[in-house]
């Protein structure tokens, strides 16, 4: 049923820092990420900047080669494919980018930009190509006459609609939307989100929706994964993850985002400090430097990902039934709030 399955994805970047060549540094952008996206559903990936969520999106599309792990599209392992097979598979997954100003070739008319993929992959020929372009433009709420114009003649929101139309030219099963509405005004955001939701329902296309905006993810996605420093700390259905977070990080994220209710309960735990560098992530649980409940165990041992309730995962020692650490037990008693399993 799942269109995309990512298992234990790892991507490290090697770079050098400092003068005269510098010393080599490994950026652990993605450090063992697993999740799956069902056909026709919107799956959110949230996290702070630098947590590796965009790298996940690019690795899924094989725009960057993953170091380890498996990415399966509809049961096909992408790593096994030869370049020609990969190119033939590419139409099934497309991408929408954050910046609508750099995602369209300024020297190409909209018609040329939309017809090029159709022609390259032989999805249509002759007059049928332009017909398809016009249908697509209308589908994303733009006039067919837009085909003759250049990107600079459109606003950011319109360009994002064009980018969506381009992603749809190849009838994909999966669209990776990397911060697709973050650069837009709030009112335009709502329109574009509504459009994507309609397309999802009408065409049955699945979305891997990468965003830092919890509100947007909540309205658009069905399930989500929360990332912190290259790892998934928690995943599950959007409603329960937001309303009853299991991981202390999700808890504080939730507390940090505004609630439109003045009588709402004050946040339990606010995050302090900066997100540590992915070049030298903390030992054990990556979150222990900022976690209010961290114990010695968290500093030394990487927590297992457990599934306390069906459909929800969390990577935290507090939720690990096999952990018998005494310190942990006292913490668990003190913060009952984190243990709503339902």
């Amino acid at each position: 049923m799942s269109i995309l399955t990512v298992t234990n994805l790892v991507k490290h970047f090697h770079t050098r820092v400092g003068a005269f060549g510098g010393k080599p540094v490994t950026i652990r952008a993605v450090d063992g990420v697993s999740f799956h996206v069902d056909a026709g559903e919107a799956f959110g990936v949230v996290g702070e900047s630098g947590c590796g969520k965009s790298t996940v999106g690019r690795a899924v599309l094989h725009l960057i080669e993953p170091d380890e792990g498996m990415i399966e599209l509809d049961g096909t392992d992408l790593a096994d494919l030869r370049p020609s097979e990969m190119r033939a598979l590419r139409p099934r997954m497309q991408m929408i980018f954050q910046d609508p100003y750099s995602s369209l070739n300024p020297k190409q008319t909209i018609g040329a930009a939309l017809s090029e993929p159709i022609r390259v992959h032989g999805k249509a020929s002759g007059d049928a190509v332009m017909q398809k372009v016009k249908t697509l433009l209308e589908e994303v709420g733009l006039p067919a006459a837009a085909a003759d114009r250049y990107p600079h003649e459109f606003s950011g929101g319109q360009r994002q609609r064009i980018a969506i139309a381009r992603a749809l030219t190849l009838d994909p099963d999966l669209i990776v939307a990397d911060e697709a509405v973050s650069a837009l005004d709030v009112s335009i955001q709502a329109q574009v989100l509504k459009l994507m939701k309609e397309l999802m329902e009408r065409r049955g296309v699945a979305f891997l929706f990468i965003s830092h905006d919890l509100g947007v993810v909540r309205t658009f996605c069905k399930r989500l994964a929360v990332m912190y420093l290259g790892r998934v700390v928690e995943s599950g259905p959007v409603g329960t993850v937001f309303d009853k977070p299991l991981h202390p990080y999700t808890h504080s994220l939730r507390a940090a985002s505004p609630i439109p209710d003045p009588s709402a309960r004050k946040a339990l735990a606010r995050l302090s400090g900066e997100i540590p560098s992915a070049a030298s992530p903390p030992s054990g649980c990556h979150f222990h430097t900022r976690c209010p409940y961290a114990t010695e165990l968290c500093r030394t041992q990487t927590p297992k990902t457990v599934e306390p309730v069906s459909g929800r995962t969390v990577a935290c020692h507090l939720h690990d039934p096999d952990q018998t650490d005494a310190m942990l037990a006292t913490k668990q008693n003190a913060i009952q709030e984190l243990f709503f399993y339902d």
């Binding site: 991408m95 995602s103 040329a112 090029e116 390259v120």
Partner: protein, 288 residues
């Protein structure tokens, strides 16, 4: 096709609003026409000697005067334009094509391809133009083709550098990533998505370096490295006149003026193109 048309749009936009560069274009087109129509326009034969009318000053009969062999300087200047403009345009076209392709490939593929190509370009660049010219002419002999080859060689590394820099910027844009996500081949991405977006930068330098190439050719001819006598070239004519600069200054001045006009026209065109490229200037002009 679309590459050429978009470049044409940029260029026309540049010249419509810029009077000096419009003049440059008119001047350059006129020079090209004169060179092309030389056999029709020229009043005399460029090579046939006439001892009786040697070293005549400019007059109605001989517009630019005559040289030591009594040949009409105006006629020779017209024919000389053919050599100078051919060398300028052909060597720049060759150098631009080869150099830009190398630069784009280096910038696009990066990794080991980039240092490999660019270090080779650095080696080429380290030879002064004149030395390269002397080496090539010494190896291949003086002729029009060899002068073009020599100048092309000096232009290739320059164009490679000019093309590589914007390629590095353009390849990081999201639309190039989108192309890869759509399964386009590298060649398609380079031809339809990278080159159109760096072409204007390259064309500006092409117009300026055409002027340079014309001067280099004149320099080669002056040193006797270029096209052999009696074929007229502007540089060669200056050299012949140089010996009699005090008795018959017109023999050097007129071919010198021809070089000046050609170089000036190309520089005006290049400046106009560069103005059109500067987004701030463009915006100011669009609003005004």
């Amino acid at each position: 096709m679309s590459i050429l048309s978009s470049a044409t749009v940029t260029m026309t936009r540049a010249f419509r609003r810029n009077i000096p560069s419009g003049l440059g274009i008119i001047l350059f087109v006129t020079l090209c026409l004169l060179a092309l129509l030389a056999p029709i326009i020229a009043p005399y034969d460029p090579i046939e000697q006439s001892i009786l009318s040697r070293m005549k000053p400019p007059s109605g009969e001989h517009l630019f005067g005559t040289d030591t062999f009594g040949r009409d300087m105006f006629t020779r200047a017209l024919y000389g334009a053919r050599v100078s403009l051919t060398v300028g345009v052909v060597s720049v076209l060759l150098g631009m094509t080869i150099g830009s392709v190398l630069g784009v490939v280096a910038g696009y593929y990066g990794r080991w391809v980039d240092p490999l190509i660019m270090r080779a370009m650095d080696v080429l660049l380290s030879f002064p133009t004149l030395i390269t010219g002397i080496i090539i002419v010494a190896l291949l002999g003086p002729s029009l083709t060899n002068v073009i080859i020599a100048i092309t060689f000096t232009l290739i590394p320059k164009f490679a550098r000019i093309a590589r820099a914007p390629t590095l910027a353009v390849k990081e844009r999201a639309y190039v990533e989108a192309c890869r996500a759509m399964g386009f081949s590298d060649i398609r991405i380079i031809v339809f998505h990278i080159i159109p977006n760096i072409l204007t930068e390259v064309l500006v330098m092409a117009s300026l370096w055409t002027a340079n190439a014309i001067m280099i050719e004149a320099g080669f001819a002056f040193l006797g490295l270029g096209v052999r006598a009696p074929t007229p070239t502007w540089g060669g004519m200056i050299r012949e006149g140089f010996e009699h600069i005090f008795q018959a200054p017109w023999m050097s001045i007129f071919p010198g003026l021809c070089i000046l006009l050609a170089v000036l026209s190309l520089n005006l065109i290049g400046d106009g193109l560069r103005d059109a490229l500067d987004p701030r200037l463009k915006q100011a002009k669009d609003m005004g």
